[in-house]
């Protein structure tokens, strides 16, 4: 692929991605949102984070297939307990990495 064409492609990818991020942030921050929408948006973060975490731990491969008992999901159990106990993201990252590294050495 010639350089100009590649840069055009990348610019196009960048533009659509930026618009998806910019439009809601730009317009919603300028509006008084109806109470119902605010209540609904309140549940969006927890939904998104679950939708990111569960497939990350319980599926593998491309295309994805169910993989319930992989190292990632087994290590997630003590990592989750540590996260509940300490509520510390930084500590949880270090403990999770350590456990994952240890599990890989077994």
């Amino acid at each position: 692929m010639p350089e100009t064409e590649y840069l055009l492609l990348v610019a196009g990818m960048g533009l659509v991605t930026y618009l998806l991020r910019w439009v809601p942030l730009f317009f919603f921050s300028r509006m008084v949102l109806p109470r119902g929408l605010v209540e609904w948006l309140d549940l969006i973060p927890v939904s998104i984070m679950s939708a990111l975490v569960f497939p990350d731990l319980l599926t593998s491969g491309a295309p994805k297939h169910l993989d319930l008992f992989q190292v990632k999901s087994i290590v997630a159990v003590p990592t989750l307990l540590f996260a509940f106990k300490t509520k510390s993201p930084g500590g949880t990252v270090l403990v999770g990495m350590l456990l994952y590294w240890l599990a890989g050495r077994l």
Binding site: M1, E3, E5, Y6, L7, L9, V10, G12, M13, G14, V16, T17, Y18, L20, R21, W22, V23, P24, L25, F26, F27, F28, S29, L33, V38, E39, W40, L41, L43, I44, P45, V46, S47, I48, M49, S50, A51, L52, V53, F54, P55, L57, L58, T59, K64, L66, K72, A76, L80, A83, K87, P89, T92, V93, G96, M97, L98, L99, Y100, L102
Partner: protein, 235 residues
Amino acid sequence: MKDFRKIFVAGIKAAWPICLGYFPIGLAFGVLARKAGIEPLYIGAMSLLVFAGSAQFIAVSMLSAGTDPVSIVLTTFVVNLRHILMSSSLSVYFQHCSRKFISLTAYGVTDESFAVNQTRFRSGSWTPGEALAVNQVSNAAWVSSTILGGYCGELIPEGSFGIDYALSAMFISLLVLQLRGRLYILTALISGSLAVLLAVLLPGNIHVMAASLVAATFGFVLRRQASRRVKDTHA
């Protein structure tokens, strides 16, 4: 108004798990893109302009397969649809910011920066400036690690010190911080189960957006019904 240095330090303190997590993924992306025949600086150009890991991986594999640019751009759009929800959810914290500032911050809304910033904003000790710092620090880590991967990714041993688990652990801990009551736990379980099901059934990662929409709506309806019941008993 905190001074710039304080804001930057706060950003680094909040963003280091993201940087740690981006590093191996960025390296892997650089190696893959180099194999597809893209020069390191052009790899960097993609990371800078797009700043969306999964979309970049998909784009490079489509490029290798000789897919036409229009299809790649459309696929990028679909893969990144989930950012609409993230930006919408963050918008409530940016009501007093200038248009320029919001436009700059929007650039760095990724899964990871969203999760970190949302959690901090919620705890009440976070400012838009610090959120922007998190976005830009993460961005620097992403762009530089993909370029590094393009230059010498093969020389760096893979998976040292469990670094591949950094982002998984970070998301686990941020999810735990979101569970502030029974309704949130229930919403999380619905969203998570549905996301797993859809991830297996559908290509790409549209499952994140689809599961979130359904679960949040379900939780919202439950909350409305509960508050109605409370009103009825008081009537």
